[in-house]
Amino acid sequence: MDLTLLPDGGMRWLDASGPKSTIVLSTRIRLARNVRGIAFSQRAKDTDRKAVLDRVLEAAAASDHLSSAVAFHLDEMERPERQLLHERHLISKELAGLERDSPPRPGAALLVQDQVGVMVNEEDHLRLHGMWSGFDLEDAYAAVESVDGELGKLIPFAFHPEFGYLTSCPTNAGTGLRASVLIHLPGLVLTKEINKVLQGLAQVGLTFRGLYGEGSEVVGNFFQLSNQTTLGKTEDELIDHLGKIVRQVVEYEEQARDVLLRTAPEEVEDKTWRAYGLLKHARRLTFEETMNLLSGVRLGVGLKLLPGPGVYTLNKLLIYTQLAHLAAMDGRSTGDRELPTVRAAFVRRLLEDEPNVEPR
């Protein structure tokens, strides 16, 4: 597999060019679709999965939006390579076959062109997704919708006049739409306001998860906020609602940061500089510690307490300090005990390339 085939490694969103990108890292849209008349993935035989993949590949080749898509056949790839795609948020853990005792299913594949990907033979036959820099629901949805519109003309999707798009799990039926933002909320965590906000989300039909979506833990104060329901509202209503609430959460976070600056300016400054110092000089770093330190530095940069590094570098560190990325970069196995040393060296190198960050 050659990931260099993907411009920006399939992660243009890392460039921090989008709106509010110091607080909102990325915006993601996902649409779940199934091919009419073929058993859903869990019930599908290998021949069914093969038929789904063939249809998707043929449709992609005949389409405008995916005609030069790069295709990854996950069942033919080694585990570290699949993990690499998962770490880039391009495929789910399930599709990557990273769960214990469940290798990728035959026909499991990923197609990527520009910023839109299609997971094939995941829980649903097709999971179209796009990830955008910053807080940008409209552009992300428009891009994924246009790919969906084209594929829907080439492949007959399962659709019911009352229930909408039919999905393997009824929690996704209707629009099949999951819109989410990856948001950094250290201010709300430090001021202990976060639980109020998270409880409020549940009351307005939204939910939160960790960095990698469903079932993942919250690390480094990064939260993924998304719509909970998919049926009974239009796509625009679901997106507008999420957008409205996220704007509010961003406001709360900004207020919490103001409170921190007003009430404990020295502590906050100390925290961010310490985080930066540790990242810059540590000789061994675990992934979790790296995430927490990056959170501190990101807060400092957002509050202009630290003159750098740039948000693009901080975003890159989030992705490239993960296990499979470090292992691939240094030609090691993902079980290598020296990876914390490799991680610290990589972090130091990336920070040294940044313009000088000196105390004011």
């Binding site: 073929i38 063939d54 007959p156 229930f163 329901t229 049926l231 009974g232």
Partner: protein, 171 residues
């Protein structure tokens, strides 16, 4: 301030209770607050989706478990899944299951989403466009190719040859 209960850890929660017409405020640490049944921040973070809908979204298994028992014997004619299969796995077998288990699913969808009526984008699959609209010619070709694959798999070579000719003409 130290916790009123254990007098060891810092108090982070103020619990106000009304006892015998008088208001009592306790200052508690997280552990002692939990012992008194107060949902603290830590507990909420560990179990974020404590509410009904949240729990449903976490795992399909829960969604399946919400379907009433009683029609377990009914089998989907297309994929032969039963309602019991759905209850166990939380996943439906195929698109026809939505028709076979129509009544149960309508009820479940209402509980999950607050509605069972899709109001989002309408969709016409290629080939069954209403109002005389023609299907995308590319989709006709892809459909023939899919039929060809099925014919070859089923060793129906006569049909396969016919399909191959039609594909050639279209291409």
């Amino acid at each position: 301030m130290l916790c009123d209960n254990c007098k060891e850890r810092d108090a982070i929660i103020n619990l106000t209770q009304v006892e015998h017409d008088s208001k009592v405020t306790l200052h508690l640490c997280e552990q002692c607050a939990q012992l008194k049944g107060v949902e603290t921040g830590g507990a909420v973070l560990k179990s974020p989706l404590g509410n009904f809908l949240g729990a449903l979204g976490k795992g399909g298994g829960t969604a399946g478990a919400l379907v009433a028992t009683g029609a377990d014997g009914v089998r989907c004619p297309a994929c032969s899944s039963t309602l019991r299969d759905f209850r166990d796995s939380g996943r439906l077998g195929c698109d026809q299951c939505y028709i076979t288990f129509d009544a149960h699913l309508r009820d479940l969808l209402r509980r999950l989403h607050g509605s069972s009526q899709h109001v989002g984008e309408r969709y016409d699959a290629p080939g069954d466009l209403k109002g005389g609209g023609a299907a995308d010619p590319r989709s006709r070709l892809l459909e023939l190719k899919a039929q060809l694959r099925r014919a070859v798999e089923g060793e129906n070579f006569e049909l396969a040859a016919e399909l191959r000719d039609r594909i050639r003409v279209l291409e």
